[in-house]
């Protein structure tokens, strides 16, 4: 049923259809209304036997879910920004313990200075934790992704936490038409969680115990291998979803008009719609430009990207985050993916802390690269004139 709903509701409604056993969260802007909507559904008795636990902090919320997941429960939480950072110690544990906790991240910047607005610095900060990460472009995609996230994370070949990242405000606070899923379609697609190992009072296990140098490394290699195996599982799930729902969001990446493109432009998250349109516009003006939407960020689709940009001389990566002292995170991976090719990589950093990224800025940024007016590397776009005080 097509309905105009807010981003929060698109997520909450989809999570409900996935029939989680335990939901535990702590509010943080701009995520709060996701769990408020879920709490409302819980209070209305719409969540069946699900336990909804209000935690005292994000650290507590993640810890409770680690325990719950270890008992074989399907688990969900949502957070962002400082909340995600506060969770991060627990989340590395969750990945190491191979607990398929599913999360929605309402991407928001990190302090300092304090900002409640959108960029990707929060999720990027824990990209190495062993958590699968994917980014959505609109509220239909996030609605569709929740059942897929459970199916991917809970696959026995994977058994890792998964984050579905949606841009705070730009998506969470947006009202737009979403085709709401039916319980039947989700039930048909997503079987109940079948944990390979679970803790009970009769059969207690230890999760995440002390590992000496004699055993630690194998556990970490296993997490690495699981993430590698997830590549195929994710693709299969994306494909199965397209068949069952009739909405095909593509694979790890979606490449458009890249075959003959001299310049390939990449974006991730809610910026995708605008960048795609600008690229189409430039195509219409006769420029040989292609577009790549990156959906899966961890595991990074290096092979797919290398293949897509095969004929390009230049690549533009619109970055929504930074890695201080190096190139921005997506760029680092893109560069690694194409290191054998003679391709220049341009990394305009845009929209930090919710700074709007207007149509004009996107267009002029790409045009500068096409016309040879930009230098490869990381640079800021949309900065105001300001004076940096160095004393």
């Amino acid at each position: 049923m097509m309905k105009v709903v807010r981003g929060f509701y698109a997520v909450a409604y989809s999570v409900k259809l996935c029939k989680p056993d335990v939901i535990c969260a702590y509010p943080i802007t701009p995520q709060s209304e996701i769990v408020e909507n879920i709490a409302q559904m819980y209070a209305n008795g719409e969540l069946g036997n699900c336990e909804y636990i209000t935690a005292e902090s994000e650290f507590g919320a993640a810890s409770i879910l680690v325990g719950a997941s270890a008992t074989g429960a399907r688990t969900y939480t949502a957070t962002c920004s400082q909340g995600l950072i506060l969770m991060s110690e627990v989340l590395w544990n969750a990945a190491g313990m191979r607990l398929p906790i599913v999360m929605t991240i309402a991407n928001r910047s990190l302090s300092a200075p304090l900002s409640i607005w959108n960029d990707h610095q929060d999720s990027m900060a824990i990209r190495d934790a062993g958590i699968i990460q994917m980014y959505v472009e609109n509220n239909q995609e996030v609605h569709d992704m929740m059942p897929q996230a459970f199916k991917i994370a809970e696959n026995h070949k994977v058994m890792l936490p998964m984050m579905v990242c949606m841009d705070g405000y730009k998506l969470t606070h947006a009202y737009e038409p979403v085709d709401l899923l039916s319980q039947e379609i989700v039930d048909e697609f997503l079987p109940p969680y079948d944990p390979p190992v679970k803790m009970t009072t009769k059969e207690p296990y230890t999760f995440g115990s002390y590992a000496t140098p004699a055993t630690y490394m194998e556990f970490r290699a296993a997490v690495y291998n699981a993430m590698e195996r997830s590549r195929k599982v994710i693709e299969e799930v994306y494909k199965e979803w397209a068949e069952i729902s009739g909405r095909n969001w593509g694979g790890h990446i979606v490449a458009e008009n890249c075959e003959d493109a001299d310049v390939c432009v990449m974006a991730m998250g809610s910026l995708v719609g605008l960048v795609r349109e600008v690229v189409k516009e430039l195509r219409g003006e006769g420029k040989k430009v292609g577009f790549i939407k990156i959906r899966t960020f961890r595991p990074f689709p290096a092979e797919e990207i290398a293949k897509a940009v095969d004929n390009a001389q230049k690549v533009v990566v619109f970055e929504r985050s930074l890695s201080m002292g190096s190139d921005a995170p997506v760029t680092l991976d893109v560069k690694a993916a194409i290191h054998k090719k003679a391709i220049d990589v341009y990394s305009p950093v845009v929209g930090l802390g919710g700074r709007d990224v207007p149509h004009k800025l996107v267009k002029s940024t790409i045009e500068e690269v096409i016309e040879g007016k930009a230098k490869p590397g990381t640079y800021f776009k949309g900065l105001k004139d300001y004076e940096e005080v160095v004393v």
């Binding site: 105009v4 730009k170 947006a174 009202y175 038409p177 910026l271 605008l274 189409k280 709007d356 207007p358």
Partner: protein
């Protein structure tokens, strides 16, 4: 499903980047007045009439009284642009005091106009320097709701003068929207939206004569 916005009785199809945007509206006011809700209610109502819609807000801090803007895009195609609206077809002002710190008419397109909450139309029009239609929303809101929350009036006024949505659709949407707060509040808001809609609908002829943008069916 296709609907057009007429300007000077010429069908005005605006193409930007190969996509078709029919209408872009920017709302200005202060936190707590329902600026965000205004765009949201219209996004829901216009969708009911067959348009694709997108609304979203921007503001400084989550505090009452700070300047807030919200954005509404209405199209006959799914809306994919999520940048803020720099060149609106219409501007809706819920709180005139926000004009002191925000350039509310920035980028207003030719043929576009302002719908504002203000007691003296000529005075405001001179101040803004663009075609402005006013309604005393604060007074009406206090009269009907007992509170100076002006979003319902301004939604009704905007829809009435532009013809974006029909009155029945708007009343239905407003009733659903406020039903969470009880039947009485929903009824009061539905009456208020009708009052504002009908009052501003009367001025449609002026808009037509001036050759400004209208949503014709």
């Amino acid at each position: 499903m296709t609907k057009f916005i007429k300007s000077n009785n010429v069908i005005c199809r605006k193409i930007r980047g190969g996509i078709l945007i029919l209408l872009e509206v920017r709302f200005h006011g202060r936190g707590g007045q329902g600026v965000v809700t205004s765009a949201d209610v219209l996004a829901v109502a216009a969708f009911k009439e067959g348009f694709y819609t997108l609304s979203f807000p921007t503001f400084g801090a989550e505090k009452r009284g700070t300047p807030v803007a919200s954005f509404l895009r209405v199209s006959d195609k799914p809306v994919v642009l999520r940048d803020e609206i720099y060149e609106p077809d219409y501007v809706v002002i819920l709180d005139p005091t926000v004009m002191e710190s925000v350039n509310v008419v920035s980028g207003l397109k030719d043929g576009g106009f302002v719908v504002a909450n203000y007691p003296r139309e000529k005075e405001l029009e001179e101040k803004l320097g663009v075609k402005t239609f006013t309604i005393n929303a604060t007074k009406l809101a206090i009269e009907y709701l007992g509170r100076p929350i002006t979003n319902t009036v301004m939604v009704g006024a905007f829809a009435g003068i532009t013809g974006l949505v029909k009155l029945e659709t708007l009343k239905e949407t407003i009733t659903e929207w406020f039903s969470k707060k009880g039947e009485e509040i929903a009824k009061k808001n539905a009456d208020l939206v009708e009052k504002a809609y009908r009052e501003m609908e009367k001025r449609k002829e002026e808009v037509r004569e001036l050759g400004l943008k209208l949503v014709e069916r």
